[in-house]
């Protein structure tokens, strides 16, 4: 098999793999929301409620620890 041909096949199958991954991700997103594992839409609020004093949507435990230390 020629190198060029090999490239053709490699890219063809890799693409199919990528497409499957992408569709897998779509299914994952909608299923996990349906099952109640994660609500993705709430992340949209990160942009809307972005004052420095607002509560984070998902707090970063590391930063929280620092805050607690300061407030001691």
């Amino acid at each position: 098999m020629e190198l060029r041909e090999l490239q053709g096949y490699a890219s063809f199958f890799m693409t199919i793999f990528l497409v499957v991954m992408l569709y897998g991700y779509i299914i994952h997103l909608y299923r996990s929301e349906k099952k109640g594992e994660n609500d993705y839409e709430r992340f949209g609020n990160i942009a809307l409620d972005d004052e420095i004093s607002s509560d984070p949507v998902v707090p970063n435990p590391k930063a929280q620890k620092e805050n607690e230390e300061q407030n001691k």
Binding site: L3, R4, L6, Q7, A10, S11, M14, L18, G24, Y25, H28, L29, S32, N38
Partner: protein, 221 residues
């Protein structure tokens, strides 16, 4: 699997990188060895031609001119034989261009001549009355940088094994010895030209940009 990626900015970045780098790997790398093989009989650019190529780049001819004849009958009738990959083996960088405000130049050496280029660069409208190309009169007075061209030839010989002779060796002494050869080549071009200042400059041992430029354009075949 997906949860894990979303939660971690580091792995997220790695994920993005892998996805975007993959296309490059598959598409570009495997073709390298094959496409850099020159067609038989292809000679590397002479030093004067390289200096002309620099002028071509400096005045950005690729903004308006392509060097790529596509495989359509309408293109080969107009510009000549279809371009082949191996013909570009010594083009660093490639100068295919992306826009034809003016015509393709890949084989312009086949159907235009020194005196035509001289007239055209001095005043495009004198040969093509409807031309919208600017005149490049400064090429008749600015001097081409032939020393840098020699350095370029030496570099591609040393680094990429471009087949230049032993006289191209990248040393200062080598350049002093080689310079008359370049001037000799320039004289041949200037002999076909009419501009007095250019002829005088070449006689003095200088190489105006236009001479190098024409040497390069004539080489495009």
């Amino acid at each position: 699997m997906f949860h894990w990626l979303e939660k971690n900015p580091f792995f997220f970045a790695v994920g993005v990188f892998v996805v975007i780098a993959f296309a490059g790997l598959i598409e570009i790398l495997p073709n390298f060895a094959e496409a850099s093989r020159p067609v038989t009989g292809l000679k590397p650019y002479s030093v004067l031609e390289l200096a002309g190529k620099e002028v071509y780049k400096k005045d950005n001819c690729i903004a308006c001119h392509s060097q790529l004849i596509r495989p359509f009958k309408s293109e080969t009738d107009r510009y000549g034989q279809v371009s082949l990959s191996g013909e570009y083996a010594y083009d660093r960088p490639f100068l295919w261009g992306s826009k034809r405000t003016g015509p393709d130049l890949h084989r312009v050496g086949n159907y235009r001549t020194t005196d035509w280029h001289e007239n055209h660069m001095w005043d495009p409208k004198s040969v093509v009355p409807q031309s919208i190309m600017p005149a490049y009169k400064h090429m008749f007075t600015n001097l081409a940088d032939i020393e840098t061209a020699y350095a370029e030839a030496s570099t591609v010989k040393a680094v990429f094994n471009t087949p230049y002779g032993p006289e191209i060796d990248g040393t200062k002494a080598g350049w002093e010895k080689y310079k008359p050869t370049v001037l000799e080549e320039a004289k041949k071009i200037a002999a076909d030209m009419k501009n007095k200042d250019v002829k005088d400059a070449v006689a003095r041992g200088e190489v105006p940009e236009i001479v190098a430029m024409i040497a390069y354009l004539n080489r495009l075949k």
